[in-house]
Assembly symmetry: D2
Homo-oligomer: 105 residues x 4
């Protein structure tokens, strides 16, 4: 199992053990993901670019926590929809690669 498959399996068992599957519809998971993205945003909103680039320990811990919430819902959504995230990412990078060719020196 890859590391993402492992997380997906853990989340699947987690939801099953709590009867949460009924809540984990694609629509609800997309909302939960966006809500967590909003919380991540809130960590940065009043910071200057410099402050945001050198977070203290406490802020970084909060940011890490929000990032893991986003990741959790993303992996759960992918599992529910049967989407292979890593494959989808590489396909997307290939596509952007063609749209924005690298600079040449």
């Amino acid at each position: 199992m890859t590391e993402i498959e492992e997380v997906a399996a853990r989340l699947r068992a987690f939801a099953a053990a709590r009867d949460w599957e009924v809540f984990h519809t694609p629509k609800n998971l997309a909302m939960a993901l966006a809500g967590e993205a909003g919380e991540l945003l809130a960590e940065f909103q009043w910071l200057t670019p410099e402050e945001a680039a050198s977070l203290d320990e406490e802020s970084l811990a909060r940011v890490r926590s929000e990032m893991s919430d986003v990741a959790t819902y993303l992996i759960r959504l992918a599992d529910v929809l049967g989407v292979d995230l890593i494959e989808a990412i590489h396909a997307k990078i290939d596509e952007v690669d063609k749209r924005y060719p690298p600079l040449t020196s």
Copy 2:
């Protein structure tokens, strides 16, 4: 390299080849992630729960594409901040596990 490290390395090279590193501040990446989460949301907003749970091929392709955008910015942000996403996810699941114990039968 794990699959996420591989994506992170690819994105790092991608940004470097285009001189995009200056744009990829944590603040900007958090914004980009939230923007893509909003686009993912838009795919589901007018669907009934039933429709959202049985997407046709075309909708699923769009959803997959938006999910890969979210994932891309999340992995890039983790790389820029030095966050180990998989470790953070497991730590978060451990924590939620204590807060919401599973149902017993």
Copy 3:
């Protein structure tokens, strides 16, 4: 009628004339609002604070358009839920006023 009541009435008639009322549930409208907030975000994500503070005509037009989308869904949601937005805003400012007293000179 206040200016917001006028917009609310116009949006109500607009939805009725298109049989869109069935889509305009509070849940869906909250999603649409957040999706538009994400598009607004996207207008600013790669800009420096300086660039974001002095938008050219074209960018400002796009920002204005995204802001009106957010406002539209917010006013529509308030109408559907029977929320008086202006009253709610003043109540919220009163509350924040107590939490963060003004600086004294």
Copy 4:
């Protein structure tokens, strides 16, 4: 003064009295708005459409509070950018009106 101009004036004085103007850049305000839109979303994410359409008093109070946060940042952003929100909304509705003509009976 219209009701929105009144709110805008109050928020302007509020920010000035706290030396918050430096934080209220368009970029930061767009982030704050999107963050609050995410919190609004969170109020609805696990509800069925039926539950979301018949909120109890407590949930509705939270929703009203989140809506006022979104509205506050939207009006503040409009003030900072010199955007006339009501005019922008009517222009947008005119535009959508042409794109999606009403049903005829």
